[in-house]
């Protein structure tokens, strides 16, 4: 399979999606919008990455989906976090925090060392 067409590290997109969905039931388009807004346009997820990721998460039973009306009265597929999705999200964010702190530390040190 081709790698995700974003510059996000592997697995990060899943985590971001889970986090976005955790707020409440939401459809695919809204997820993309929210990611873009919250990250101040840094994270832009093309549909070619978003939807396969959503389907994969649904397949792994981290998300569950149902068809519902939107505010404008159109039918859309709304995603919701499952219990194991919540667990996965917690574990994922924790390890991401640790990793980013560690990466930050290393980068800091090497910069000082270089100076």
């Amino acid at each position: 399979m081709a790698p995700p067409k974003s510059d996000l590290p592997q697995g990060t997109l899943d985590l971001l999606i889970l986090k976005t969905v955790a707020i409440g039931p939401v459809h695919g388009y809204a997820i993309a919008q929210r990611l873009q807004q919250i990250s101040r346009d840094v994270v832009q997820v093309p549909g070619g990455s978003l939807y396969p990721a959503l389907h994969r998460l649904e397949n792994r039973k981290l998300l569950t989906a149902e068809w519902r009306q939107t505010e404008t009265g159109r039918e859309a597929k709304f995603y919701r976090l499952t219990r194991s999705g919540r667990v996965h999200l917690q574990a994922g964010s924790a390890s991401w925090q640790r990793l980013s702190e560690a990466v930050g530390l290393i980068l800091d040190t090497s910069e000082r060392g270089a100076r």
Partner: protein, 871 residues
């Protein structure tokens, strides 16, 4: 929705996917137009940022996890079309696979028939065998008295049955109720192989009935009271032409009348692969075997029956064994009583455990043949992949994912595998259905024993499932590497490396199988060359007996008279008597008081040694008077003499056998002979006088063929007494029976090894041919620059034999490991037999050299001008 649900609701899924993606796009377009961009412009932007719709859909489908099975149908259809376009490739690949899969399916058919398929009885899982062990842990049968105790006093079995095989001679006529003589059984000797069974036999097994009634417990109460018999369907058809009026009439067993009360259904086979001819109540056994009748039912030392039981629900075999052991110890009487009982599974004809030494090397060998076949097909696929490079590159370029492509290629090879499997199943069924009876008819076994190998070899669902599983596994096995290889659009270099490794694998495996077959062949030759220590040619054993006569003094008189008349016949050289005929299994053994030695023994008449051709080394033979009076004398083998009285004169010493309990003086020493089992030396032997009762008359008639011997003896017997029967057995035949298992193993291994050699050499031939054709241009240039044909030949040979050498080295190691599995079947040679290893390696190198030589010649005859002009 679960995996299946997703698979089944594929249409709905597709619609949903489409709807979801379109919703996204419409929303985005709406957002953009709201911010002031024209709709045309907005749509273009969205298309750009969203990516190709179809590609996104593809990836979503992939994420669903049911992709491979959804794609299977179109992929399979494409694969079949592709094969149709290249029929030569398809034919070779399918034939190769059919061979590999067929041989595995055939082997599995036998495994299934004997070992895996449950007995055709009611609830076979709960059916177990009771094995009795004596105080020293030796297996022994049960006595009928013991059986009755076990049957009535246990609380772990819902039923215990006893059975004991019984061969009988059939009477000369069948008399019906209509009182007309009904001469169905042709004149001459006819034997039937039946079983005497306890009265509850059919109830416990769940026997089905075709006609009349089955045996009941009432038939098995008073010894000799109910002369009734149930015939098996097969015997009824063979012997009586399926005559429905037979039920209620009388047939004769050993000259005694038995009423046929029923015919068992065809499906009912009892507990052995060979269906017995008939079943008679155990209470009639005494009458049928003659003079030991009284002992049979009361004497606990008289052990004649085997026991089977049906476990009660929720009782484990271990619990049953524990309960039976308590019971056994509470009724144990006498020295030979059953000390312990073990319970083994009897839900199939033979237990897997028992046949492991045969099953493991056999399955390994046929499995290896399949690996060789797969390697061949893998090589073909790799060669074909070179031709499909363009197709694959295009598919990758238009967005087919790497995984998708591998899946497509694997589907192709699985389709090939299944086609090969179908052909293989057909071939194996044909080979088993026609080949097995043909082979069996060649095996020199008496017909009764031969029946033991007559099993239903029709394929059942297990065989089909096995064939399918093997085909699919083979498809993946030979398809995986080439698929990955071609999907990566890899360079020719990697491909030739793969082909090289396939050649090495094939040579190595092939050599392992060749070594195995070489070892078994050497073992067979060794056994065939064994000198039994006596002359078997034109040596005959006769067991005379009066049918339908229990007057033992009359019988003794008649058989004595018969022996005398036999001795007087002109063609006969020498006549004697013995309790156990030569080459009919291990002789009984006994300890010798005062020594640690155990010896085999036999009771023989005078002139026994002269008749057999065993040489008398010192001392003298028994006299006629000594044998008839059972005088306290004995003759020992050289082996016994040297073990007990090393360096001393054995003659005149005394010896007392534990089972004989008479102090005997040694009057002669004879040379060692293998009179029990040909390939098991029984050097320590003792011969005792036979006394007045003889079991076998044994004679040598150098001018009589076996058929002549039988005819003459039959006529002579009839002259002595009309009821005297005297079946003749040629000892030469026994020698053939002894060779049979070794010939079978060597034959099977030889067949497997030959097939693998053919496959491996075809594989090597293909690889070298391909290499030569790819390098034609290079060879042309070389020759134009002055290389001679011999140089070219040498180059080709060097690259081929380098692979062969690596393969042979690995194969020798594998052969050594494999030889250990065969240790049980190797008589007279060590698992590391230099001759077998060296000669098979030589053969391997020779055949591979031949497979290289043909394409090498082609390379050497390349015309440089033609190649160069071709450019």
């Amino acid at each position: 929705m679960n995996w299946w649900g997703r698979l089944l609701r594929r249409k709905e899924q597709e619609a949903h996917l489409d709807k979801e993606l379109h919703f996204h796009i419409e929303q985005r377009v709406a957002d953009l137009t709201r911010s002031g961009i024209g709709e045309e412009e907005a749509r273009r932007t969205v298309r750009q940022e969203f990516g190709g719709m179809d590609q996104v859909k593809e990836e979503c489908r992939d994420a669903r996890g049911t992709r491979w099975i959804e794609d299977f149908r179109p992929d399979a259809r494409y694969a079949v079309r592709l094969l149709g376009r290249n029929p030569a490739f398809a034919a070779i690949a399918i034939a190769t696979l059919a061979l590999g899969i067929g041989i595995n399916t055939a082997a599995f058919t036998f495994l299934n028939a004997f070992v895996l398929r449950p007995l055709p009885i009611r609830d076979p899982e709960a059916f177990v065998k009771l094995n009795g062990l004596d105080r020293k842990g030796r297996t022994q049968s049960f006595s009928i008295a013991e059986y009755r105790d076990f049957r009535d006093r246990n609380d772990v079995f819902s039923g215990v049955i006893a059975l004991s095989p019984l061969p009988v001679s059939l009477g000369d006529a069948v008399t019906g109720r209509a009182a007309t003589d009904y001469d169905i059984i042709p004149p001459g000797y006819q034997f039937a192989f039946g079983v005497t069974v306890s009265g509850n036999y059919f109830t416990v097994l769940g026997g089905q009935l075709a006609l009349g009634r089955l045996l009941t417990p009432e038939d098995d109460v008073t010894p000799g009271a109910h002369a009734v018999v149930v015939l098996s369907e097969g015997f009824w058809r063979r012997q009586f032409g399926g005559d429905a009026t037979l039920v209620g009439r009388t047939i004769r067993f050993n000259g005694r009348p038995y009423a046929v009360v029923g015919i068992a259904a065809k499906e009912f086979v009892g507990t052995q692969p060979n269906v017995p001819d008939f079943w008679v109540p155990l209470a009639m056994r005494g009458q049928l075997i003659g003079d030991k009748a009284d002992m049979l039912y009361s004497d606990r030392a008289h052990r004649s029956v085997g026991l089977y039981g049906r476990l009660k629900p929720h009782v484990s075999p271990a619990q049953a064994a524990a309960a039976m052991n308590v019971l056994a110890s509470s009724i144990a009487e006498g020295e030979n009583a059953t000390a312990r009982i073990s319970i083994t599974d009897a839900s199939t004809f033979v237990s897997v455990k028992e046949f492991m030494p045969l099953i493991v090397p056999m399955s390994l060998a046929v499995g290896l043949v399949l690996v060789i076949a797969c390697a061949n097909v893998a090589n073909l696929l790799i060669a074909r992949a070179a031709g499909r490079q363009r197709e694959i590159e295009i598919r990758l370029a238009v967005g087919s994912s790497y995984r998708r492509l591998v899946r497509q290629l694997i589907t192709e090879s699985v389709v090939l595998g299944v086609l090969g499997g179908v052909a293989g199943l057909a071939a194996s069924h044909w080979a088993v259905a026609f080949g097995y009876p043909a082979v069996l008819s060649q095996v020199p076994l008496p017909s009764g024993y031969k029946d033991a190998f007559t099993v239903d070899v029709n394929p059942d669902w297990r065989v089909f499932a096995f064939g399918l599983a093997v085909s699919i596994a083979a498809g993946v096995l030979f398809g995986l590497a080439p698929a990955i290889n071609s999907a990566k659009a890899s360079v020719a270099n990697a491909r030739s490396r793969f082909r090289d490794s396939m050649v090495v694998t094939q040579v190595a495996i092939c050599l392992v199988l060749l070594v195995a077959s070489g070892l078994l062949l050497r073992s067979m030759w060794f056994v065939e060359a064994l000198n039994p220590g006596f002359q078997t040619s034109r040596l005959y054993a006769v067991s005379p007996g009066l049918t339908g006569e229990s007057n033992s003094s009359l019988e003794r008189r008649v058989t004595e008279q018969f022996a005398l008349r036999l001795a007087a016949l002109p063609g006969i050289q020498s006549v004697s008597a013995c309790e156990k005929q030569p080459l009919s299994g291990m002789s009984p053994q006994t300890g010798i008081d005062g020594t640690a030695l155990r010896v085999s023994y036999n009771r023989v008449g005078s002139r026994y040694f002269r008749t057999l051709g065993i040489s008398m080394i010192r001392g003298r033979d028994f006299t006629e008077a000594e044998t008839t009076t059972n005088a306290p004398v004995a003759i020992v083998s050289e082996g016994t003499a040297s073990r007990i009285w090393l360096g001393e004169e054995a003659l005149g010493k005394t010896i007392r056998l534990t089972k004989d309990d008479v102090t005997r003086q040694v009057i002669g020493v004879v040379s060692n002979a293998r009179v029990g089992i040909l390939w098991r030396p029984e050097d320590a032997y003792a011969y005792l006088p036979i006394g007045s009762k003889s079991s076998y008359t044994i004679f040598r008639a150098p001018s009589w063929s076996p058929s002549a011997a039988e005819l003459t003896v039959r006529n002579e017997a009839a002259r002595v007494h009309p009821a005297l029967k005297a079946p003749v057995r040629a000892i030469e035949d026994s020698l053939e029976y002894a060779y049979a298992p070794f010939r079978f193993l060597a034959g099977a291994a030889g067949l497997i090894a030959t097939l693998s050699l053919v496959l491996a050499s075809v594989g090597l031939y293909g690889v070298v041919s391909l290499m030569v054709s790819q390098r034609t241009h290079e060879i042309g240039i070389r020759m134009a620059l002055g290389a001679r044909s011999s140089d070219v030949m040498r180059t080709v040979f060097r690259s081929s034999l380098r692979l062969v050498a690596v393969g042979v080295a690995i194969g020798l190691g594998g052969g050594l490991a494999f030889a250990k599995l065969l240790a049980l079947a190797l008589i007279g040679i060590k698992p590391f037999d230099l001759v077998a290893f060296a000669s098979t390696s030589g053969l391997m190198v020779l055949v591979t050299a031949l497979a290289t030589w043909v394409p090498a010649r082609r390379a050497a005859s390349v015309d440089p001008m033609v190649t160069l002009r071709h450019e």
